[in-house]
Symmetry: C3
């Protein structure tokens, strides 16, 4: 068992965005040379998320509507020193989670054809760093 | 440190269902022969979840009511090519998460008596595959 | 690759509370002697959560308001043998998740200055046990 690290840097020019980073996670697995193991994909920011989900446009729009419904911008947020949109994005990030672990076996990611690794930007317009830590053999 | 893989196949004859798979996760740990490590239990489907929770009937009914309240079927879903119930199940799966990591120590799962590994079927009537990847020594 | 275990015991004298356990997770990493790896931090209780989030007071108050809005105490809960507040705390715990995996590299936790490991007590006044399992090299 060994470890291979390869961070991903992302930047959106929109406040809200979704990046499909499946191919970059797969590339990290391939560079590692490991055939079996797990890949931790974890955001370094409290106002973004990493999920495994389908990448269909309508689903992602639905997700946006859901997040706005559950934790809307400006609904009594008490955080000081940050904008109301940032406050909401922190709460939305907690609902989606900031990390996933992607298993792989025989040099293939254990993902269904309808599953992708997505970075969900909830408060963008700044550089973002995602840890990709491959552990395997 | 080594890896032992043993996928679980499940199929419900109901659209919504919950399977307690704790004993199967424990069996995978025992077959691995490892005494200390972690077990990634991860669904290969975007409309199902894996959680650690109590297995009490009332709690699971409450969970069903909560999911229907937060992400109801047919509430403005924009996904094309899939049914409204499937669209809702994708969103509900995001709220519950599709995976857990179960630690184990001295050949015992690190779970409280009130904690079980549950596969939550959100859009059933089809075969489902759950990755069980034991990493340990 | 090796494993180092160090459970954390916590007890709050309030029903709802948040403990910043980042320094204890860091201490476990340091005691392990590993320079690269992951740390599973997992609650052994179905009515508490472990999250990575900012530790700002206003944000934590917002989170409390959000949880009470999404899964309020006493809203038709069907669980028998436990109090209404405990039923709600189980559901709230599912929304937040009961565990995180903290990566570390070159002997430093891979956390942004705005990210902390928080134990979220949702039904306190009792001792709580959190598994801290460091896997690395």
């Amino acid at each position: 068992m060994k470890i291979y690290n390869e961070p991903i840097i992302l930047q959106s020019n929109k406040p809200r965005d979704v990046f499909n980073i499946t191919s970059r996670v797969k590339a990290a697995m391939e560079k590692s040379g490991f055939r079996d193991g797990t890949i931790l994909v974890s955001s370094l920011h409290a106002s973004s998320s990493v999920i495994v989900s389908d990448d269909e446009t309508g689903l992602l729009e639905d997700m946006e509507v859901l997040l706005e419904k559950l934790a809307p911008v400006g609904a009594g947020h008490r955080q000081e020193g940050i904008s109301e949109s940032s406050a909401a994005s922190h709460l939305q990030s907690l609902l989606l989670n900031h990390q996933v672990t992607v298993p792989f076996t025989e040099s293939r990611l254990d993902l269904d054809p309808g599953q992708f690794v997505l970075f969900v930007e909830l408060d963008g317009l700044r550089p973002r760093r995602v840890i990709v830590k491959v552990i395997g053999e």
